[in-house]
């Protein structure tokens, strides 16, 4: 069964067609990653699903349309981790994670004990309890990304959208965050849709990849079918070698064509 079904999605921003006729089906409980060159429309697609961008076409979750849903209802279905989340001045980690309970807090009220209990459980799961009283402005990149994940999980939404969740993290922290997402996906039965620019990482942490170029889907399928030298050099304008490792993983290595040319010229001299 497919959890997220996007049909004929069209987005025009400032007169420019950013997404054209995009269809996307994400099976329940799976992890689909959007890849593609800069400006391909990966973030826009995620924002459209999150309801933050005006669009034409249909977006449904478990056969229920997300379009026209009140923002509060939608936030219970879809949690969104933006690429560069704001760090509010003076707010500590507990209150930051509690922001995720907003769709459950009545309009004029504040959090109830059950909201606090949900957050407490998440602080333990994401190893944030020691940091609970620290202002979010004082956290390292990896710590803050865990807090942002905790906030998204506090929404208790079945669909989790991640827009470049590792863009500000070093290699080790990037892996830890993605492993954490994968564990949570399995434990909680979440459906995950992410945008990642690192192709090797994208291949390691997704069931399926969708290659977006100029707002259109040009390839879609299992990692090995999308991460091919032919597709990548055609759409990224990059020279790469794709190496298949013994565990079934795919490694995309950039190569420098100029080196080859230089070598040739030296030979000729």
């Amino acid at each position: 069964m497919s959890a997220l079904a996007v049909g004929r999605l069209d987005v025009t921003l400032l007169g420019r067609r950013v997404l054209g006729d995009v269809d996307l089906a994400v099976p329940s409980g799976s992890w689909v990653t959007l890849v593609g060159p800069n400006g391909a429309g990966k973030s826009t697609l995620l924002k459209a699903v999150a309801g933050a961008v005006e669009h034409a076409g249909s977006i449904g979750l478990d056969e229920v349309s997300l379009d026209g849903m009140r923002s509060r209802e939608r936030a219970r279905q879809v949690a969104f981790v933006p690429q560069e989340p704001t760090r509010p001045d003076g707010m500590n980690v507990v209150d930051y994670v509690l922001l995720g309970r907003t769709p459950y807090v009545p309009y004029f009220a504040v959090e109830s004990a059950s909201d606090v209990a949900v957050v407490e459980e998440l602080l333990d799961t994401l190893e944030l309890r020691e940091l609970a009283d620290r202002p979010v402005t004082s956290l390292s990149g990896g710590e803050f990304q865990r807090a942002v994940l905790a906030r998204a999980l506090a929404q208790q939404a079945p669909l989790l959208l991640l827009d470049e969740p590792t863009s500000s993290l070093d290699l080790g922290h990037a892996q830890q965050v993605l492993e954490l997402v994968d564990e949570l996906r399995v434990d909680r039965g979440l459906t995950v849709v992410s945008a990642l620019h690192d192709l090797t990482t994208a291949g390691q942490f997704a069931d399926r990849l969708v290659l977006l170029v100029d707002g259109e889907v040009v390839a879609e399928g299992p990692v090995r079918e999308v991460l091919t030298e032919k597709l990548i050099s055609a759409h990224y304008g990059a020279a790469v070698r794709v190496v298949h490792d013994a565990d079934g993983g795919v490694v995309v290595v950039p190569v420098r064509e100029r080196t080859a040319r230089l070598t040739k010229r030296t030979d000729g001299a």
Binding site: P82, T86, P88, D89, V94, P103, V110, A132, S138
Partner: protein, 354 residues
């Protein structure tokens, strides 16, 4: 900044997790400041009242308490018909302006936002000018000011919508345009009626002249509703601190929150301005001082701003009516005169980014 080495956790793992809330210390301090200022405001004046007598008289009015003989008949009349209404009006106006300022700063996420941002002041000023110039009964000046204030905001809102949809900046710029336009008309009207200039000017600078409880009762419903609505949004104002887009993805109907808070703050401000004139600086200085001294959550900023805004205006009014006694200074001059240096002092000593 604290650092937390992993070997030595900064917090006890079993300590309960609590959402941000106003703690007893700052609350008690603010209440004490307000009570002291209120007592000073009730006792000091041309006819000085004994502190002890005033206290006995006040306690005697608590239901179920029976003490009498605090003050003689004349002093009792001074207390209940002059001092108490004036102190209560000062509290309502000061508290309202401070809460409205905090609300504006929260929804616009702009540290310069104040209760007069969207054309309320210019509209109210124009309304009052018309009333005074046309020789209308002075009792109707507040009504004219109130109507003018609402008209100013309505014009700002209509202009902002037509210029830039729901963008915050277009609304603020529309407020600037409407204020300049209304001020131009007001200047022209004043120019043509120089005999009433002094009276108009006196009104604009702000004053808490009262006789009895009429003004208090007039603005009570507006101030009560406005305060309740803004307080109701205390958590949502915190959520808005992550920005409109992220707040939207967390399920906040940001446009509706902004509209409700702005409407409430404007209504309350218009009511306050109608009876007190244009008292400046309270709405901008009080919430900032609270923010810099205690914290950035609106659950703390709103109640403390209400208490300290009330105390600040009662204190300023006390100074306004005693410094050049028997004459009286416009209280709006004093709020800026005291507020600006104090604000600068706090700003320099905390250096917290907004």
């Amino acid at each position: 900044m604290k650092t937390t080495p992993p070997q030595r956790p900064a917090r006890d793992d079993t300590a309960p997790v609590r959402p941000v809330r106003l703690t007893a210390g700052p609350l008690l301090l603010a209440v004490s400041v307000l009570l002291v200022v209120m007592l000073l405001g009730m006792t000091i004046g041309p006819a000085g009242l004994p502190v002890r007598g005033v206290l006995v008289e006040l306690v005697g009015h608590v239901p179920g308490v029976d003490v009498a003989g605090g003050l003689d008949e004349q002093d009792t009349a001074v207390l209940w018909e002059l001092r108490v209404p004036r102190v209560v009006l000062g509290m309502m106006v000061g508290g309202m302006l401070a809460i409205a300022g905090a609300g504006y700063q929260g929804v616009f996420r702009n540290p310069l936002a104040d209760p007069y941002l969207l054309g309320v002041a210019a509209g109210a000023g124009l309304g009052a000018t018309f009333a005074i110039v046309s020789g209308t009964d002075r009792a109707f000046v507040p009504l004219f000011a109130f109507t003018g204030g609402l008209a100013g905001v309505a014009a700002t809102y209509a202009l902002g919508r037509s210029a830039g949809g729901r963008s915050v900046n277009s609304l603020i710029l529309a407020g600037v345009a409407v204020s300049a336009f209304f001020a131009a008309i007001q200047t022209y009207v004043n120019q043509r009626n120089s005999d009433s200039l002094r009276e108009v000017y006196g009104w604009i600078l702000g004053r808490l002249l009262t006789a009895g409880w009429d003004e208090v009762l007039t603005i009570l419903p507006y101030v009560a509703v406005a305060t309740a609505v803004i307080f109701g949004h205390r958590r949502l104002l915190d959520v808005l601190s992550v920005g409109q887009d992220e707040a939207g993805s967390l399920g906040v109907p940001a446009a509706r929150v902004r509209l409700l808070v702005v409407l409430a703050a404007t209504l309350g401000t218009a009511a306050a301005v109608a009876v007190s004139g244009l008292i400046g600086f309270v709405g901008i200085v009080v919430p900032h001082i609270v923010r810099m001294l205690t914290g950035t959550s609106y659950r703390i900023i709103l109640p403390l701003s209400a208490l300290l805004g009330a105390a600040f205006l009662v204190a300023a009014d006390l100074a306004a009516r005693t410094l050049i006694s028997p004459g009286e200074l416009p209280v709006g001059v004093l709020t800026a005169f005291i507020g600006a240096p104090f604000f600068t002092l706090v700003l320099r000593s905390t250096r917290r980014s907004w």
